[in-house]
């Protein structure tokens, strides 16, 4: 699964993208976030305040969205463009 990160989330994690293998019991975005946090403390720092959004294939999704294995999943803070 391809994960990409932007802005503050990218800075805290110290990487802009990665490919990870996730166990088959990870179904939703919430499962994925919990998995990442349990897996490495840097994710905890980046994601624990819950002030982030998730886009699946360039579409914003909720935490209960069911992940497709081939998707590009982006995690980023609230946007500040314009």
């Amino acid at each position: 699964m391809k994960l990409i990160y932007f802005a503050k989330v990218r800075e805290i994690l110290g990487k802009s993208e990665e490919i990870i293998e996730v166990p088959s019991e990870i179904k939703t975005i919430q499962n994925l976030i919990d998995f990442l946090i349990s897996h490495d403390p840097s994710y905890k720092a980046a994601l624990e305040d819950k002030d982030f959004f998730v886009a699946c294939d360039e579409e914003l999704v909720d935490m209960d969205f069911i992940i497709k294995r081939k998707s590009e999943i982006a995690i980023f803070p609230p946007v500040t463009g314009g």
Binding site: I4, F6, A7, K8, R10, A55, E58, L60, A74, F76, P77, P78, V79, T80, G81, G82
Partner: protein, 139 residues
């Protein structure tokens, strides 16, 4: 006609508006220009860095323009958004909406900038001589 451009280079407001104004006989054109200002660093801004998620930014801008184009019967809609390192007063975003009727041109323009501000994947970081801050979202 809809045009979306996302690039680091600056743009000529002038050239863009004149081009649209001369190409069509719609009577009302509204434009919004957002520029770099010193939001949080109180006069010590060195530069503003804009990061973006390219594929999604294009998609969001395109969909927003299309929606506004149809809803308010525009004759032209242009959105330019820059990324990269910008200086104070540099233009960031230009939205031009043209229609036969001014109400529609105003409504479409304001809708687009309001929507982009909360949905388009761009992030601003202010760099001062001492420090760097990510700008936080404001309504």
């Amino acid at each position: 006609m809809i045009e979306i451009r996302i690039h680091p280079q600056s743009f000529d407001i002038d050239y863009e508006m004149k081009r649209i104004q001369e190409s069509s006989s719609s009577g009302a054109m509204v434009s919004f220009l957002g520029s770099v200002r010193d939001i949080q660093s109180k006069n010590s801004l060195k530069n503003l860095e804009i990061e973006h998620y390219p594929k999604m930014a294009h998609k969001v801008l395109n969909e927003t323009a299309k929606y506004a184009f149809e809803k308010w019967k525009l004759s032209r809609c242009l959105i330019i958004h820059r990324y990269g390192k910008l200086k104070i007063n540099d233009p960031i975003v230009l939205i031009v909406t043209q229609s036969d009727h001014r109400k529609e041109a105003f409504k479409a323009n304001e809708y687009i900038i309001d929507f982009l501000k909360i949905n388009a994947p761009f992030w601003k970081k202010e760099n001062t001589s001492k420090d760097s801050y990510w700008v936080s979202q404001k309504p």
